[in-house]
């Protein structure tokens, strides 16, 4: 199979156009940067001091986009991400009672928040899941969205040992569209499942022994007939999810800080928003199985950043990230084009922007031998750079045993 040259050429042209159009915005403070710190950020940042040229360069050098993770995914549990938590144990209530218990366990009798709490729940399924049959799900878009909307809650302790403060976060994650939803477009599999007979019941058990015997027979039926036949159906008819499906996912999270750890002393903190949309060229011959475009935007506002190199040791920062990636390939060839834009604003210093373009192509030369070529460039995060991007600021090639792009 070969790639279509037309779209590829267009993508490269688009990449160059973005690079040329990009400009650093040093020296242009924004309204957000001039805004007063929001309440609820502890004592709040110290008054900003003016940065000299060396200081500006030091600050800027920390914000090179190439050093950032160009991550286009939306976190499944945004509350955990919002407070930087990677919980070992996540409570996933499945019933209203379990949910209530999880919430009650988050606060003690004196009103102190318990730290280390991480709860992730799909509210619609907890309260209405018993009413949602597969037919309704398949017919109702709103049911699909509600069934795939989760909320997360988390608490974490303040930084110091004697710091009584507690940080809380609440988030929501929703899949608004997913072409690869396994409950949809799987008619052949459902038909196959439908042909499996149910466990036959010939008589009502009248004694405990008869009851136990019936359960043994049920277990045998499940083990020797139902499960093997389901496996056969899956093997034969399960629609393999495309790697390049079309979807749209959104998420948001907000945080609060309680300086005393008491529920009554909550102040608002940062807010985060994420959205990713992918397009798998559905219905486009030649691209449907081989290409995908992902667009991503996220915004983090009122983030309190503590860093001894910052003026006053901390600042309130707003960050916006916009990224896109086009991937295409076959089992012997792959290419990826990535573009990203980062903008940071904070009170008392110029707006920082950075852009990145990267292009990677690889070709299998023989089994376990791939030629990988990439080039790209970064710009911005440098007060002296007002001339846009140098597209060919990096170029490399390598021979590898495995493909580096995740296209089939």
């Amino acid at each position: 199979m070969t790639l279509h040259r037309g779209p590829l050429t267009a993508v490269i042209a688009f990449a160059v156009a973005i690079g040329v159009a990009t400009r650093a915005e040093a020296g242009q403070p924004t309204a957000a940067a001039a805004a007063a710190p929001a309440p609820g950020q502890g004592a709040g940042p110290a008054p900003p001091r003016a940065l000299d040229k060396k200081g500006l360069e030091l600050e800027a050098s920390k914000r090179k986009l190439k050093d950032s993770d160009v991550d286009l995914t939306v976190p499944e549990s945004p509350a955990f991400v919002a407070i930087g938590l990677s919980p070992d144990t996540i409570i996933r209530p499945a019933t209203p009672r379990e949910f209530a218990t999880a919430l009650l366990n988050g606060v003690d009798r004196q009103g102190h928040f318990q730290t280390g709490v991480a709860v992730d729940v799909v509210p619609y399924l907890v309260w209405q899941g018993s009413q949602v049959d597969l037919g309704t799900y398949r017919r109702s878009t709103m049911t699909q969205i509600l069934s795939r909307t989760s909320t997360s809650f988390a608490t974490t302790k303040g930084a110091g040992e004697n710091d009584p403060s507690v940080k809380l976060a609440a988030g929501v994650h929703a899949t608004l569209f997913d072409s690869e939803d396994p409950r949809l477009n799987n008619d052949s599999l459902l038909q196959c499942y439908s042909e499996i007979p149910v466990f036959p019941i010939n008589a009502v058990p009248q004694t405990d022994d008869e009851q136990r015997q019936l359960e043994i027979e049920r277990d045998k039926f499940q083990r020797e007939e139902l499960i093997p036949r389901v496996d056969e159906c899956r093997e034969q008819f399960r629609r393999k999810a495309r790697w390049n499906g079309t979807s749209w996912i959104v998420a948001a999270a907000t945080t609060w800080v309680s300086s005393t750890g008491l529920a009554g002393d909550l102040d608002s903190g940062s807010q985060s928003y994420w959205s990713s949309a992918s397009y798998g060229f559905d219905g486009v011959p030649g691209l449907r199985e081989h290409a995908q475009f992902i667009g991503h935007v996220r915004h983090l506002s009122n983030e309190l950043v503590v860093d001894q190199d910052l003026p006053g040791g901390q600042e309130l920062r707003d960050t916006t990230f916009v990224g896109g990636r086009f991937r295409a390939g076959t089992n012997s060839f792959g290419l990826s084009f990535e573009a990203a834009y980062l903008r940071m604003t904070a009170a008392g210093r110029p707006t920082d922007t950075a852009t990145r373009l990267a292009f990677t192509a690889e070709r299998r030369l023989a089994e376990n031998l791939w030629l990988n070529i990439s080039f790209g460039g970064d710009s911005g995060a440098d007060p002296a750079n007002t001339k846009g991007m140098s597209v060919l600021s990096a170029f490399k090639y390598a021979f590898t045993r495995e493909p580096s792009l995740t296209v089939p």
Partner: protein, 127 residues
Amino acid sequence: MAITTVRLKATDGPPNVEIVVGQSQFGKYEIQLFDTDGRNPVVIGSGLSHDQLPDNFQIDGNAATLNQRFLSWSANLIPMGNERNPRFSFTVHIRQNGQDVPGSPIATQGPLPGPRAEFGFVKMEVV
């Protein structure tokens, strides 16, 4: 497993049985009516959770003739999604005049890590 007793009213007309396979999982089910000895089953309804056909079935005849008879259900439940912890919910409603009779609904729920054969019984008492 104790067999639940549901109480029907002789004067309230023929009862209706509805099956709800929740949590958007695949379900195929069959409902049977037994005699007072718990034998001689007759299939009174069957269905699928994903089609557009109604999942409720009327037990024809005079409610009084159902006294001390048994109703059973048997279902294949198969997880359909890719959730971390798939669950199932299986509910049997027995109604007269549109209202659940005493003892109904009979609901079961829990984790569904793989295909499951679910079954149960009720004894009908007519008052």
